[in-house]
Symmetry: C2
Subunit: 253 residues, 2 copies
């Protein structure tokens, strides 16, 4: 009997799938009310969390319990604390915090197509208007450049080393669809004679330029606004970075 029961299919996976969107909503809500910061500050009872987050006790209690089941908080004797995961990746006080990625990953451009996914499957193309995510000057890429940087930052150092591969002296670098610009900026940091030309939509380049200033490499950081398919690249270049670009296009493109 036990053997039979272990192998009999159950509807669990189906209900889990049909309600999986609630897990996304719970994490987004917790980030939005700044719950993980409050937990990190040592507030761990419902009353003080609610006060700190300007939220109802009832709402905070139910949300924290749900996050505990999800593995994103721990609960003991009615008090909530960080899990190792939430401490490192969700508390804004942690240098590795990636909570901001929720803004891009939860942006209308990424979420809206899933509201009518059957239509996308039927047609084989995006349900978004125009060219969708690759529409010229799509403002979503400003959000990408801003909020996804913390996720990309840990990769920038190693990628810079691989790309430079010990190359010293003057190096001309082209960063196509630079986004946050972190990869080209890292090359400029690792090689003090490297000069970077970054291509992206104008508003996105504002984010990359700000990051270049923060990194102190703005004097060797040039921007060329426009479509990567149309802009005059200039050159010649010793290095071309093409990091967050190709996966947006199908093979014929």
């Amino acid at each position: 009997m036990a053997t039979h029961a272990a192998h009999a299919p159950t509807p669990e996976l189906i209900f889990d799938s049909l309600q999986a969107y609630q897990r996304t909503a719970a994490l987004r809500a917790a980030i939005e009310i700044d719950l993980f910061r409050a937990i990190g500050e040592g507030r761990n009872d419902v009353e003080s969390l609610a006060r700190r987050c300007d939220a109802s006790e009832r709402g905070v209690r139910i949300l924290c319990d749900f996050l505990t089941i999800q593995g994103l908080l721990q609960k003991s004797s009615g008090r909530y604390t960080h899990t190792p995961t939430s401490a490192v990746f969700l508390d804004p006080q942690s240098p590795a915090c990636i909570a901001s990625t929720a803004r891009f990953l939860g942006s209308p451009m990424l979420r809206a197509p899933f509201e009518s996914l059957a239509q996308t499957v039927r047609t084989g193309r995006t349900a978004l208007p125009g060219e969708g995510s690759v529409e010229p000057n799509n403002p979503a890429w400003v959000e990408f450049a801003t909020s996804m940087a913390p996720m990309m930052a840990p990769m920038a150092g190693p990628l810079g080393r691989i790309a430079l591969d010990g190359l010293r002296g003057p190096v001309a670098v082209l960063d196509i669809a630079a986004g946050h610009g972190l990869f080209g900026i890292e090359v400029a940091k690792q090689n003090p004679e490297a000069r970077v030309v970054a291509i992206d939509w104008p508003a996105v380049l504002d984010v990359a330029s700000a990051n270049a200033r923060k990194a102190g490499v703005e004097a060797r950081y040039e921007t060329k606004p426009g479509s990567a398919f149309d802009v005059e690249y200039g050159g010649p270049y010793d290095l071309v970075l093409l990091t967050t670009f190709l996966h947006h296009f199908d093979p014929p493109t």
Copy 2:
């Protein structure tokens, strides 16, 4: 090192949570284009699935691959087949199919509040207009009565036996917030002298009455339309069913 790596937190759970809504969307899309029926009919290559579902090959291929990762299909040599779970619970040819529950579980009433969950946590009450799910005559309960019946059906038999507990002869049964009516109907099927009075919103009772007719107990099935808080119950009753009701209210109510 291996031990350290096993214990070091990773952002996996966070990205999984932020994108969990895509699993809901994939299953809903597959049900909507009737993919599980097509698979059950033995179509298992992308081309014939796309033709049967009136969808693009590209869309069907990507969706089927995603469902395979999700454990809701199997893929071998480029061909897709049911998993034990999808065969039993998602193929409309299966008597245990619960695919219709996606309609209620994916209805605007259930999904919309999660679009603004932070607001709900802040206020401690639904972001839906009016009384939300318990608003009088909320049409969502018609969808509930229609699409959730397959999920409730397996419970109706055992529940009827527990509720009747061997009671024979004339039994007066009150079914409060009857919904699909399956529980009261089951009592009427198990005891041929039982008479059932069902209370719910008028449009919902139409669904329950139709189910009573299908079960052949309509002559012993009476309906009283209105709010369970206001309707004159009549009586006395030997049995009161209160199955899909109390969890919608807070303790003070």
